[in-house]
Amino acid sequence: MALVLTACGESSIDDETEANESQAAELGDCGEINMAVNPWVGYEASAYVVGHVAEEQLGCKVNYKDIKEDVAWQGFGTGEVDVIIEDWGHPDLEKKFFAEQGDGSAMDLGPQGNVGIIGWFVPPWLAEEHPEVLDYKNLNDFAEEFATSETGDKGQFLGADPSYVQFDEAIISNLGLDFEVVFSGSEAASITAFQQAEENKEFLIGYFYEPQWLFAEIPLERVALPPYEEGCQDDPAEVDCDYPETVLKKIGSTSWVEEGGPGVELVQNFEWTNDDQNTVAKYISEDGMSPEDAAAQWVEDNQDVVDAWLPQ
């Protein structure tokens, strides 16, 4: 849009209308893509990069829908949502909407290349001054330092946004740690807490994850928990191990996929790395670019990667 405007300069609206029509005719009809945008920046980066390619190089019309995961999955059956571009694993929803057990309105479209890392993190200053905290076995020695007005004499563990997968209460009690979980309630709250803790050199330990734009600003350090083994998180009450790495994937609406078209192929082919996503996320969060501009920038710099996604 912005490009068209500057290219045409002072021309009249009618000229631009004609230009738009001929451009649409040239690219052919790719149809519309309803893209769910879940509320975190990394997701936004993936969504807008795919959306940008679909619009500019395939001529699709992309509708971005700002919603949480749960609502997005509901939208598959009603045609309101065609794609979730970064899914962190929702077994409960898969049960309801995948074909084997549910109504079959949604389907797995394969990995999108990013690997999600969930774990316990501390601000860098703390890791540097007290490297011992990076092992869970030493955490009890510092419990008092981690205490806040919310936890009395126990240490505070900062839980996360409720929509994330988390077993911290169970891990703490099963490992005999002298900590209490306080749920931050939102990603913004967790990020602000880590920013403040680093800036004011305060003790803080909490749930966090990669890929995440904050790491470009503050390289949080991960605390070692007993390593993840297959099955150690099957019973939520018995969890006493670290989180596994999650292969993030794409979920599509079955009816949209069956319809086919260049948009579907693009989404199926889309795959990139954590670094790629962090780059775009940094454009948005730190450099203050709009998601559209950030995506356009990255696509321009990485056309070779993008070419591999395009329908053959």
Partner: protein, 667 residues
């Protein structure tokens, strides 16, 4: 501006406010002594039973009621292709969608292949200004023009217009549904009246977050869901206020016209509705403002408009980025509020023949000429159709960010200290008493307090609410939320006493404070979430601060109102006895405004409670977190629904006890 928040029962029925000039009751009546006795006994029993039967749920533990609620949702989902009700709601949702979409393409977004909307900014602004002129005069016309220009200048044109579109569609439907119900409320018998009032109470106490999931389920996401949840939230004020207006048309007038032999329909259309017109417009005003505040929360289900920009700024923890759209929402609210208020006065004057209609027609016709020119220009030329980016949005955002960084640096130690102090002396002891007492002890104490303070009228609802809280299985979280709400109310009352009295005694202070109070009530809470978190951390106290920002303005206005109501002659009598200012305030003004103080406390408490869900987003736990959890995770849907209902029960219980106490106090 009045209030954006749900118009609570008391505020909507000003005639029930206690008359001010009554002899002063003794400092502590026997009822309050009884209440103190109950609390004392409670503390004694708490000391020995602490920690037993607290009904605390272990993490992720669910009761069968939660499962049943989740089961209901799953059934609805599973049946959505065949269920006729869902087919109907989807049909309605689709209709809203296409209507909003059509309006958007007309005035706010490009109508492809046209690169701009059908009517560009210049045309839209001109038409809006003309409407302002037609319904409320030239002052309002200027206000409207400036507001619309500010949307463009701050690079939020389509966001602001989308918000207006959703608001107007929702308000339009609210009026269509609400007016007949208001007539029913205004003319119905006592049973109809009390059933409807209770239903309205429930709707207005329900946290707005609770609507989101079910509305998305039945009506879909995007414009359709946004319109429906906005209209649900905006409907009660117009029913309540307009119904009240119809009900209070004077008996003698009705009798006088009845004797002329009119039918009930004639009575309604010729007498009751015209005479209640002013109150009906007040109801409309409340409905518009409520709609506006909900339209931003609807951004959580992809509702179009400036709310999305506010939520976007949360993702990148960008205070300034959220402040600019938030401020525009305040601009819209003030514009709509002043316009409807002025329009009601204007129409009142016109009805009494105070407006020269001939002259007005000529003015409007002449003014239509430039409007048509603007419309033409905005269809032909890009500069009149789409705002050039000015960069002001980024500049203002940077400014705000710099200010908050500085503020946080300088004051963080102070605010953290204050938080620790309040946590240690108020929050923790009270939470221990409420949440660590056995449930039967708290329940007994609540029932006892309800009875001694409000009598049977308060006792019965309290019994129902306590039973409900137990049934829905979130007793312990409800106590945690009640604790934060009580502490928040104490802080609200401190502010209300200081600033309310100050405002009442100094017109200058009033002038300075009012716009700030309006802003506090209107600005979406997500805008100040980040700075509050930076100052107070992820704590219960952050939640309390968010609640206080929202609740204090109402309480301050009420206290100022009450203190102003003390008659000048009474004050003069006091002054002649040579009392000091302090004595004048504490011995005369405050005691005589006692009814208003109790009302302010009641309203403050309900408003703080209304922010419980925002508290859940900043680390406060309790029912607010449960609601957020239910909205975010599919498998916790029933849990979230139970938490939403529990907040309603808590609100009604507290309201009934406080109202009972207020009624008796003012007598």
């Amino acid at each position: 501006m009045s209030t954006l928040a749900p118009e609570r029962p008391d505020a909507a029925e000003p005639e029930e406010r206690p008359p001010v000039e009554k002899p002063r009751p003794p400092l502590l009546s026997s009822r309050w002594l009884w209440a103190l006795g109950i609390i004392g006994l409670w503390i004694v029993i708490w000391a020995v039973t602490k920690g037993n039967d607290t009904l605390e749920l272990a993490g992720r533990e669910r009761t069968s009621v939660h499962d049943a609620l989740a089961g209901f949702r799953d059934d609805v989902l599973a049946s959505r292709d065949s269920n006729p009700i869902i087919q109907l709601t989807y049909e309605i949702g689709g209709w809203f969608n296409s209507f909003v979409d059509w309006l958007q393409r007309m005035i706010s977004v490009e109508n492809f292949p046209r690169p701009v909307p059908e009517v560009g900014w210049l045309g839209v602004t001109a038409v809006a200004t003309w409407i302002g002129l037609a319904i409320a005069g030239w002052r309002i016309a200027i206000l409207v023009a400036l507001s619309f220009l500010s949307f463009g200048v701050f690079d939020y044109w389509s966001g602001a217009i989308d918000l207006l579109i959703v608001t107007f569609v929702a308000v339009g439907v609210s009026v269509l549904i609400g007016l007949p119900l208001a007539v029913l409320l205004g003319t119905g018998n006592r049973v109809v009246h009390s059933v409807m009032t209770t239903a309205l109470d429930i709707f207005q106490t329900m946290p707005t977050f609770v609507y989101l999931a079910p509305v998305a389920l039945f009506f879909g996401i995007g414009a359709s869901g946004a319109v429906v949840c906005t209209l649900l939230y905006a409907l009660p004020p117009i029913i309540r206020v307009a119904g009240h207006g119809i009900r209070t048309v004077s008996e003698t007038t009705i009798e006088a016209t009845d004797s002329a032999g009119q039918t009930r329909w004639q009575r309604l259309t010729k007498v009751q509705l015209p005479m209640a017109r002013r109150t009906i417009v007040v109801g409309l005003n409340q409905t518009i403002l409520a709609a506006l505040s909900m339209a931003t929360i609807a951004a959580f289900i992809d509702g179009p408009g400036a709310g999305q920009d506010v939520l976007d700024s949360l993702k990148t923890v960008d205070t300034g980025g959220g402040f600019v759209p938030g401020a525009l929402i305040v601009v819209i609210a003030i514009m709509l509020d002043r316009t409807t208020t002025a329009a009601s006065e204007y129409s009142e004057r016109a009805a009494r023949g105070g407006v020269d209609l001939r002259r007005r027609r000529i003015v409007l016709a002449v003014a239509a000429v430039p409007v048509i020119v603007c419309l033409y220009l905005s269809r032909q030329y890009p500069w009149a159709a789409e705002f050039e980016e000015t960069g002001w949005r980024t500049r203002l955002a940077d400014l705000v960010n710099d200010f908050f960084d500085w503020f946080t640096d300088v004051f963080r130690d102070v605010t953290q200290g204050f938080k620790d102090l309040i946590s240690a002396v108020l929050l923790n002891p009270l939470e221990s008493l409420l949440a660590e007492s056995p449930w039967w002890l708290v329940a007994a104490a609540l029932l006892g307090l309800a009875f001694v303070l409000g009598g049977l009228r308060a006792l019965l609802p309290t019994v129902v609410c306590v039973a409900g809280l137990l049934y829905f299985g979130l007793w312990n979280d409800a106590m945690i939320t009640l604790n934060m709400t009580l502490v928040g109310t104490v802080l609200v009352m401190v502010l209300a006493l200081v600033f309310g009295v100050w405002m009442a005694r100094s017109p200058k202070m009033d002038l300075v404070l009012r716009p700030l109070l309006d802003t506090g009530q209107t600005i979406p809470p997500f805008v100040y979430m980040i700075p509050v978190l930076a100052l107070f951390g992820t704590t219960r106290f952050s939640a309390i601060v968010a609640g206080v920002v929202y609740a204090a303005p109402v309480a301050i206005k009420l206290v100022a109102d009450g203190v102003k109501g003390v008659s000048a002659s009474t004050l003069e009598a006091t002054r002649s006895t040579g009392s000091t200012t302090w004595q004048e305030i504490t011995k005369v003004q405050l005691p005589m405004a006692r009814g208003h103080l109790v009302l302010a406390a009641n309203q403050g408490l309900l408003y703080v409670l209304a922010m419980a869900v925002i508290g859940g987003l900043v680390g406060a736990g309790g029912l607010g977190y449960d609601v957020v959890l239910g909205f975010a995770r599919s498998e916790e849907w029933g849990f979230g629904a139970a938490a939403g209902i529990s907040i309603v029960l808590l609100g009604i219980m507290v309201d009934r006890i406080a109202r009972g106490a207020a009624d008796k106090t003012s007598r």
